[in-house]
Subunit: 340 residues, 2 copies
DNA sequence: ACAAGGAAGTAACGCGCGTTATTAAAGCGC
DNA sequence: GCGCTTTAATAACGCGCGTTACTTCCTTGT
């Protein structure tokens, strides 16, 4: 017969074993300011804790202190590399603050999302992080209003909630600038779906960099596409098959998968990377960027930093402090590898 | 001044509002068997719950019921695609059972791992899932013995803990069999580090399939390597540069990144996939397999299934039931795409 | 008319802990 | 010796809820 009631060691057990009251044990555990505990007593208590293998019950503590210590993190999909980075960043920061992350994946299903939110509220999360896979607008279930919420990689259409976004413009600028610095003047841009924020921002950065270098952006060099290798392959073929003087010597791709497609088009033509055509990607999907041959120079989406920043903001909100900035953008670092 | 004490609605509030006792509310909430609640009363209570926006406090409930509802999940790295799948699988199963997953990433750091474990025990997890990125032996901190534990994608050297592993042998068999069925008889095998379980198991399956087809395995066709595209590129070059009759017409690669390297070697030689050389990968890293050109036929590691199975086993253990199998292996499904 | 039994509901305890108010002892100046 | 402060420690309440034991009222059958 298995003991169903896992009778664990409680604070009272520790108190008895140390010959003090439970209150005293609580005081040394939380080393309460103002409580005068002589070293000898403290030592006895710590010893008892050690001997009995006592562990505080986080749930009971939360109940008594009226402070759950939980932050919630809702993501769409946890399978991709992005959510993982957000989790990593958020988790590391949260743990440092002795808080914990309650993670849930909605799988893009509103019902699951609502259920997850309910669960989080029942667990009395003190704040909520809502992260998406790609930069876009979202509308949250209204239950999210019950608790401080910060959006990660997305924003609400009403602009009411604080959000953390990648700096797409600066990203596009830095990619283009890197190619300009390498001597390229005709730079093709195989963009994402031109309707999404990432595509708009990066194009703005791309054009700004060109103008700064005294080059008038040529719309013919910008090809909108979808986020697939095939789409980028087609686009790259179109750009590379232009007459010699018209052909770009560098390609800036909307993401690393698209860079994969571009690589194929370049290699098929017997051109060499980066000698004949330089390539810059976006997203830094390690699995791709670090294993393409040659390795891909690309910009990283700062998911981990966004995660930590999100927890920071949440902590401030949960403490009742006002936010200095409602809308935070975070820089996308350029990762130099071998394709430029 | 923000109200720091988030005075939320409690069960007593609901009771008062519905004109009944708190006990009665508790009874309808848990629809306690044996409690006779007339429909009218039940309706009034549910109405009060709705009007007041009451949400049960999960922490308090756990404390009173002496049942936390938590399962812990410790992974090494949450950034890769694998951990995400385990989480997805475990989460979906756990939520169906009204349990929740407390997730922590150790980042491969024993100190963090121990800290995570402590936190989980303080939260009174009823079971622990310990998952690794790659199939191997592990030794757990001894604190893990305090709670039912199931290993995912790894096993303990002592063989004491229940574990869930991918069926490497069957995976190697199916990959090879697929190539044999396509008419190939000389099949190169660019393996992982030959010391790890995945490499050993898959090679066993590879050779079994060959023998079943009446082919004596040729050790010269098996090249051990490391899990990188470069390593596989070199190996593929060696195999493909052999004299015509000796050259393999198909390559079975230890993972998808390695298949990427093999693709390069094949394409460089003007050979076509799958017409001249067929390729099968392993791991089904979507980012690679689905975007290589042509798309890669590969075997999937059943991480999601391993996650759900893990929760199943944990639930059984937590309920005090004995396990039917101590060591579970799960099949690796073959994903047909276009490289064979 | 009355006991028996069920239906409807409640008071009260405990889960493990944080916290406040209070007590008991010890130190100190005079 | 007496008041007074400081030190050391505790009793007791409440956090929000599950649960047991108990009470009250309403049916039935005879």
């Amino acid at each position: 017969m298995a003991t169903n009631k896992t009778h664990r060691v409680t604070m009272s057990d520790v108190a008895r074993h140390a010959g003090v009251s439970r209150t005293t044990v609580s005081f040394v555990l939380n080393d309460k300011p103002g409580a005068a505990i002589p070293d000898e007593t403290r030592r006895r208590i710590l010893e008892a804790i050690d001997e009995l293998g006592y562990r505080p019950n986080a749930g009971a503590r939360a109940l008594a202190a009226n402070r759950s210590g939980w932050f919630g993190l809702i993501t769409e999909i946890v399978t991709g590399p992005f959510a993982g980075e957000v989790i990593t960043g958020a988790q590391s920061r949260a743990w440092g603050d002795r808080r914990f992350l309650l993670i849930a994946a909605s799988e893009g299903d509103p019902a699951q999302e609502a259920a997850a939110l309910d669960q989080m509220l029942e667990h009395r999360v003190e704040g909520l992080l809502y992260a998406t896979t790609w930069h876009r607008a979202v509308t949250l279930p209204k239950a999210a209003r019950e608790v401080p919420t910060v959006l990660v990689n997305c924003y609400d259409a009403e602009g009411e909630l604080p959000c953390i976004l990648p700096d797409e413009v600066s990203g596009g600028y830095k990619a283009t600038r890197r190619l300009l610095d390498a001597g390229h003047t005709r730079i093709g841009f195989i963009n994402l779906d031109p309707a999404i924020p990432a595509a708009i921002g990066r194009r703005e950065g791309y054009e700004r960099a060109l103008r700064e270098a005294g080059i008038t952006p040529d719309p013919a060099l910008v090809i909108p596409g979808w986020a697939t290798a095939d789409s980028a392959y087609t686009a790259a073929c179109e750009l590379l098959d232009r007459p010699a003087g018209d052909r770009p010597t560098a390609l800036f791709c909307g993401n690393d998968r698209m860079a994969m497609g571009a690589y194929d088009a370049i290699k098929e033509r017997g051109l060499r990377i980066p000698h004949d055509v330089a390539v810059v990607g976006f997203d830094n999907q390690e699995l791709i960027a670090a294993y393409l041959r040659p390795k891909l120079t690309t910009l990283a989406l700062p998911f981990e930093a966004m995660g930590t920043k999100g927890v920071d903001m949440l902590a401030a909100l949960a403490a009742g402090q006002p936010l200095d900035t409602h809308r935070v953008t975070i820089d996308c670092p350029l990762l130099e590898r071998s394709s430029v």
